[in-house]
């Protein structure tokens, strides 16, 4: 019973100590928090970007595809477009020397005597 009364008295006493924090203190604390906040490093930003949601994977894939396409297009040699087809010149025919052809000739008509 005594302990109960003591607890009741202590609670009643503590109630009178309940005071709100001055607004200036809260503002000072928030300023303190802002000043102490470390600057975000580039690596932290990169890590956050990599840890992004599913949409980030799609966006990343689209960006990578566009980059690859650009690289391929830039590496191709530039050529003038063909304006018109030129007519091909006719093949040149040269008459074979008559003598040479005569030497190739024989009277071979497929008979036995022709072989001699």
């Amino acid at each position: 019973m005594k302990e109960k009364d003591d607890a009741r008295l202590a609670k009643a006493a503590m109630k009178s100590l309940r005071v709100p924090a001055p607004e200036s203190l809260t503002a000072d604390l928030k300023r303190l928090a802002r000043n102490r906040k470390p600057a975000r490093s580039v690596w932290a930003g990169l890590r956050d970007a990599l840890e992004g949601g599913a949409w980030a994977y799609g966006a990343g894939a689209a960006f990578a595809a566009a980059a690859v396409a650009l690289i391929i297009m830039r590496s191709m040699p530039e050529r003038e477009p063909v304006k018109e087809f030129a007519e091909r010149p006719a093949l040149r025919l040269e008459a074979a020397p008559q003598q040479a052809l005569r030497d190739l000739w024989s009277d071979d008509e497929g008979e036995d005597n022709d072989e001699i």
Binding site: D6, A13, M14, S16, V19, L29, K30, A33
Partner: protein, 179 residues
Amino acid sequence: MPEIDWDALIDANANKAYCFAMGLCGNEDDAKELVQEAFAKAMDRIGTHDPGLPFEAWFLTVLKHLYLDGTRKYEKRHGQSLELPIDAAGLTVAEGVADHREQPLIDRLEREENSKLVRRAMRALTPDARAVLLMIDLEGLGYEEAAAVMGCPLNTLRSRIVRARAALKERLLALEVTS
């Protein structure tokens, strides 16, 4: 580690921290300074806080340690214990105080604002007794949480709160007699 919303933590804990600090220090300037120091320390040491545990209890531990460190430094520098009652005449425990005065005192405390009287009585208690009273009877912490903040076993905490309440009552009755 996820970024901590300090503004939200300050909004949620500044009042409790200030009440706790006021109860420990007994005056506004020291209480404000203590709360600022405690938040600065918490910002530096937030990495040691287990996110599974309530921030409030961890923060009160930081605040209490800072206060006790401060009082120990003061005692060392001045060679004077802060745990001694400051007002020998008014704060001597009146053993002969009749029990019938207890009930009117409780009624009066429940009915009226008596912060001056209570603060005066609190100043005569030891820092540990003050801390236990403030945590349990002002902040509403459970015994287990308070034991964690005080860094003592649960049974020790129970006996401390019983002793602290009894001491507070004695001081208040003594002040009632002398005032």
